[in-house]
């Protein structure tokens, strides 16, 4: 029983805030497609000029940066998803001594920010001669991702009806068979949500790349953008194009799988 006035006020507010959320993004896209010469200011629109993207890709080296990000993101996500499914399965459906304590450790690990461990990570990797390698980017992020992923998959496995697992046990399925052939086909939405969230966090990670990597060929996209900005304070269109390129992959995945992103974040997903 809402009055027409209440409803329009609500729509107006929703609309205003949505617009405000969208404006800077639209602005930078417009800037990215502007002709360099005709540039007036941020966000003005004078027609579409896609050459900036090609320039950014070549001269700005964003092609290399994207490839690097892709290698890191795919490795981290693949490893973390696998390990999280295994660990989440154990915590969710098996009873063993110390399970509770171990899980609390994972839970606390969720809240440990990269900022707390970046310093020792750098020096340890340096001593091992592994800075400026993909390992330096993949391994630490795999660690923090597994903390989140385990928490997430455990929550999922705990929601599975016990009787299903018991029926499989009586039917003679091993724990491995039950996991992969009985439970996982059902877990697709949960695994997908975890995958997109981990992908987003890994792709967007900046501090780790900044500290670990100096070789330009290994720079991930956010790091590449930061250097690009340092070199190009005047060439706004190119910078904007680079920024759009960096943000694109996650945004594209988001547009197609937004349900999963939103569901994941709404359940309080937080990663260190």
């Amino acid at each position: 029983m809402t009055s027409r006035r209440d409803l329009s006020v609500t729509y107006a507010i929703l609309g205003a805030f949505s617009l405000f959320a969208l404006l800077p993004i639209v602005g930078i896209v417009f800037t990215a497609v502007q002709d360099q010469g005709a540039l007036a200011a941020f966000g003005t629109f004078h027609g579409v000029h896609l050459g900036n993207f090609a320039d950014a890709w070549r001269d700005g080296n964003f092609g290399t940066y994207l490839r690097s990000s892709a290698i890191v993101a795919i490795s981290v996500v693949a490893a973390a998803v696998l390990l999280s499914i295994l660990a989440g399965y154990a915590f969710g459906l098996m009873r063993f001594r110390g399970a509770e304590v171990l899980f609390y450790v994972f839970l606390l690990g969720l809240m440990i920010p990269t900022e707390a461990i970046i310093v020792p990570l750098y020096y340890d990797f340096r001593d091992l001669g592994l800075t400026d390698t993909y390992w330096a980017l993949i391994l630490p992020q795999a660690g923090t991702s597994v903390a989140f992923g385990t928490f997430w998959m455990r929550a999922y496995f705990r929601s599975v009806p016990r009787s299903l697992v018991e029926a499989a046990r009586i039917d003679g399925a091993s724990s491995w068979f039950t996991l992969w052939r009985v439970l996982l086909p059902l877990a697709r939405p949960a695994v997908l949500t975890m995958t997109v969230l981990l992908f987003m966090w890994t792709w967007n990670e900046f501090l780790l790349a900044l500290v670990m990597v100096s070789d330009e060929g290994l720079r991930t996209a956010p790091l590449g953008l930061s250097f690009f900005q340092g070199r190009n304070t005047s060439n706004l269109t190119l910078l904007a194009a680079g920024a759009v390129i960096v943000a694109m992959p996650v945004v594209v995945v988001y547009v197609f799988l937004q349900r999963h992103f939103i569901r994941g974040m709404l359940s309080g997903a937080v990663k260190g």
């Binding site: 009806p161 009787s163 299903l164 018991e166 029926a167 499989a168 046990r169 009586i170 039917d171 003679g172 399925a173 068979f177 009985v182 086909p185 059902l186």
Partner: protein, 367 residues
């Protein structure tokens, strides 16, 4: 086919004892129902038999083998769960074949068994569907089928009918019983519904608070309950109870005196003097007509409710602080609030000790 035996089986969860010293022998091919209210331990007992719970004390044997430490898959049992637990992403055929494939049965044998079970349960048309596309009744039959194909030594059923609507439940009850009769596999069936127990079981084991109260045929439980709990649990509508003081009467009988109650029984000398709990089966209480006609009474009270079921009516009457159900054939004009007189049939009465709840057998020595 095998016999099942529980010997002094107990199950403790921390400080809570869910099952206490359960001893029960089930014959090969018998259909035994474990019945009781929630928390009675019946499901825990079944799960221990299945191997889904560990045993705190005692022994469980299937056939000649003590299976305490044996994994469920080695026990040669099959179980039907309350929520059916069908594998959601597999077709009905794969659901039925699952256990057989895990046991490496050859493909042709699997096909044979699945088709046989499908025929017995009339689910042949559903073999290519997924569980999500089945109705409740169909899913339940597939769950039964999954147990059937295994040709196990024992069937275990955990309230398989609870999720069905009343009509389907009654229908399926009969089907399960018929099926069991055909395959003659030892079956242990758990339910909280005593009507289900009475209509399905060869024998019934009544459990309460972890303890086995009584085990016997439906008739034994109904006619000769060994304690107040069993008497009040079995039978629908339930037995009514009131407390009275028994004293020997001059004419050789017994006089029962309670609040608003004064009865003379022509029998019962074996009842100890003092308070006793009297149980009355609803059909053992009738409205007082034409001087009683052989009924014991009269008892006078106020009508509390009228349950008209068409062919018969049960009238709840408040007498003192007790409420007794009285049977009347056909319909009645009584309304709540009316004053009413009724009497008791001698063989509808049972007596129980007020302290222990144990039945005081007629003709037995003083307790």
């Amino acid at each position: 086919m095998a016999a099942v035996r529980f010997t002094d089986v107990s199950k403790r969860f921390g400080a809570v004892t869910a099952v206490r010293d359960l001893s029960l022998a089930i014959d090969d091919g018998e259909f035994v129902v474990l019945v009781g209210p929630s928390g009675s331990g019946k499901t825990t007992a079944l799960r221990m038999l299945a191997g889904l719970e560990s045993i705190s004390a005692g022994e469980i044997a299937i056939g000649e083998r003590v299976v305490n430490r044996v994994a469920p898959r080695e026990r040669d049992i099959a179980m039907v769960f309350q929520d059916y637990a069908l594998y959601p992403q597999m077709t009905v055929f794969d659901n039925l074949a699952f256990g057989l494939r895990r046991r490496k049965l050859p493909k042709e044998r699997i096909g044979e068994r699945v088709r046989e079970a499908a025929r017995l349960l009339d689910i042949g048309a559903l073999l290519e569907r997924k569980p999500g596309q089945l109705s409740g009744g169909q899913a339940q039959r597939v769950a039964l089928g999954r147990a059937l194909v295994r040709h196990p030594q024992v069937f275990l059923m955990d309230e398989p009918l609870s999720n069905l609507d009343a009509k389907l439940r009654t229908q399926t009850r009969g089907e399960i019983k018929r099926l069991q009769h055909e395959v003659r596999t030892t079956t242990v069936y758990v339910t909280h519904d005593q009507v289900e127990a009475m209509t399905m079981g060869d024998r019934i084991a009544v459990m309460n608070d972890g303890v086995l109260e009584q085990v016997g045929t439906p008739e034994e439980l109904y006619e000769r309950p060994t304690n107040r709990f069993v008497a009040g649990f079995i039978g629908s509508p339930a037995m009514s109870f009131f407390t009275a003081a028994a004293a020997a009467a001059d004419d050789g009988g017994v006089r029962l005196r309670g609040e608003a109650i004064d009865l003379r029984l022509p029998f019962g000398r074996e009842l100890p003097a003092g308070d006793v709990t009297v149980g009355v089966r609803p059909e053992g209480a009738r409205l007082w007509r034409d001087g009683g006609g052989g009924l014991i009474g009269p008892l006078r009270g106020t009508v509390a409710y009228v349950e008209a079921l068409g062919r018969e009516t049960f009238v709840g009457v408040d007498v003192g602080d007790a409420r007794l159900a009285v049977y009347e054939e056909g319909r009645t004009t009584l309304q709540p609030g009316d004053a009413v007189e009724f009497g008791l049939l001698a063989d509808g009465l049972r007596f129980f000790s007020v302290e222990s709840g144990e039945a005081i057998a007629r003709g037995a020595a003083r307790v």
